[in-house]
């Protein structure tokens, strides 16, 4: 009996490049998040502030029907870039964003590390860049639902309720500010979350780190503020930096008497650092020492 020799031969087929190779990762991530019963119950609640702000826009156009509204409340109903800034930068909204990224982002990489599935990803026609894009897009999807989309809806509804283009002509740049700040918010939270998710296989630990580091930066800021009495200490607070940049983008007075550029650089620095760590942590092969 002759035994046929078998060897490797080059593959001559055509390599099909998908247009969006990251999309299956995103789709799976979104589906998985929605499969969580607790999330399905809690996520609609995160839209309550948007509904409230939309109500304010409605009331602002019909002030004559609400004669009992006087003083400071009427000032709050003045729809200007400050109104949009308030919605997107208030501490409560940032807290909601934090809870959402814990829900949808804590396990994005840590579960892949836990189940050794990185090798499976990278044994397919998928680059690291596509992997990260796919994961980031999951966070972007959920954060846009509570930032970009409500922001643009507010703007459109203001025009619809007022029945004129006066608001648009007064602030033609406002839609760009909404888009720009939403991108900064989602960009920062995406890098921050994925970075922490890549540090451990334990998703509970990642969830605690996402919350803890954000909260910790606030505590350190409060302690240093009392001791140093300088606006520069606000740079240690993630919340303060996001609010500082937000105020500038919406053309408002910044909450701290320092240039917004510093805050922007801090956020950018965190993203660059996170990106660098992510690149080194996410590998197709794990070498166990």
């Amino acid at each position: 009996m002759t035994i046929k020799e078998k060897g490797y031969s080059h593959w001559d087929g055509e390599f099909l490049v998908r247009k969006f190779p990251w999309w299956p990762i995103t789709r799976y991530g979104i589906r998985l998040t929605f499969q969580r019963k607790f999330f399905r119950l809690a996520f609609p609640l995160s839209l309550l502030p948007a509904v409230f702000f939309l109500g304010l826009i409605y009331v602002s156009e019909r002030l004559e029907d609400f004669p009992f509204l006087k003083g400071e409340i009427v000032q709050l109903l003045e729809i200007s870039p400050n109104f949009f800034k308030t919605y997107l930068t208030q501490g409560f909204m940032l807290f909601i964003m934090l809870m959402i990224v814990i829900f949808c982002g804590a396990s994005l990489i840590s579960d892949d590390l836990k189940h050794n599935s990185l090798q499976l990803y990278f044994s397919r026609p998928l680059k690291k860049k596509d992997y990260f894009l796919g994961k980031i897009a999951v966070i972007v999807f959920f954060l846009f639902i509570i930032t970009l989309i409500p922001g643009l809806v507010f703007f459109i509804m203001k025009l619809v309720f007022s029945g004129s283009l006066k608001f648009f002509l007064s602030y033609p740049w406002l839609p760009l500010s909404i888009i720009g700040y939403s991108l900064i918010l989602t960009g920062f939270f995406s890098f921050y979350t994925l970075f922490l998710s890549s540090l451990s296989k334990n998703r509970r630990l990642v969830a605690i780190l996402i919350f803890g580091i954000y909260y910790l930066s606030e505590i350190v800021y409060l302690i240093f503020r009392s001791e140093f009495r300088s606006h520069y200490v606000s740079l240690v607070s993630l919340r303060a930096n996001l609010q500082q940049v937000g105020a500038h983008i919406f053309g408002q007075k910044t909450p701290f008497d320092i240039s917004w550029i510093f805050s922007f650089l801090v956020l950018l620095g965190i993203c660059v650092f996170a990106g660098f760590i992510l690149k080194s942590k996410v590998k197709g092969v794990e070498i166990v020492k």
């Binding site: 969580r36 607790f38 809870m99 814990i102 829900f103 189940h115 540090l199 451990s200 334990n202 998703r203 509970r204 630990l205 969830a207 605690i208 780190l209 919350f211 803890g212 909260y215 910790l216 505590i219 350190v220 409060l222 302690i223 240093f224 009392s226 001791e227 140093f228």
Partner: protein, 270 residues
Amino acid sequence: MIQKNTGKLSFFLSSVKNVYSIFLFMGRRAKKTKIFFLLSFLPVVIAFIIKFNQIFSGRGNVRGIYIFSNLIIVFYLQFLILILALFFGTSVGSEEIEGQTLTYLTTRPIPKSAIILGKYSAYTTLVIIMMAVGVLLSFFILNLNNLGRFSLYKILVRDVVVLALGIICYTAFFTFIGTFLKKSILVGLVFSFGWENVIQYFPGSTQRFSIVHYLKSLLPVPRTGRFSFLMFRLEPSPDGLAIFMLFLITAIFLSLACFLFSYKEYILED
């Protein structure tokens, strides 16, 4: 031959001790412990920066013990011990279920409640050590000029004991949450930074439905002014009652955790 030692307290305690020694050993070497050890050293860095600033700016007028007491409340009481207790408390049950290692423990001749109590004790010990090291170093750095004053050590001991009580109580509560719920971390975060904070704003007996109320009752009410952002409407309970309540809460939640862990069915799944 089946070893029948039912009813023997020493057998139960020996089971708890064995579980304790295993998880103390494991916990000490775990990566998560190292991360939290680093976190608990942050107040030391803060204390060092503040001291450094005081020395070089010539603003040494603020007493070290005052800053230390505020550090205890802001950093430890309202943040660190909550985070540590939440993670390690929920880990007692959840890590065995999520890591699917529960089988190795439940197929041994030890009561399931011994697993809970042993792991709880081991993790509580670890967390208390983490906290105590940071507190001691911060204390010495901030009070560098007054280390000879005996009264300061009384404050140190009081603060460490209150924080240790907090860790014992919170860890017991989160141990119960971890054995009871799948989404223990999120529920724990909402409890720690939602409920425990918000309820302090309410007057009268309402705030007695929080653990932090009893812990704050054991500490002197901070003066307003600096760190005034901390001030809530604290209506303290007497010391004796506060300590009794903390132990009662611990006992109740540990018993519930043991009961649940013994009778609940955990289906290990991917």
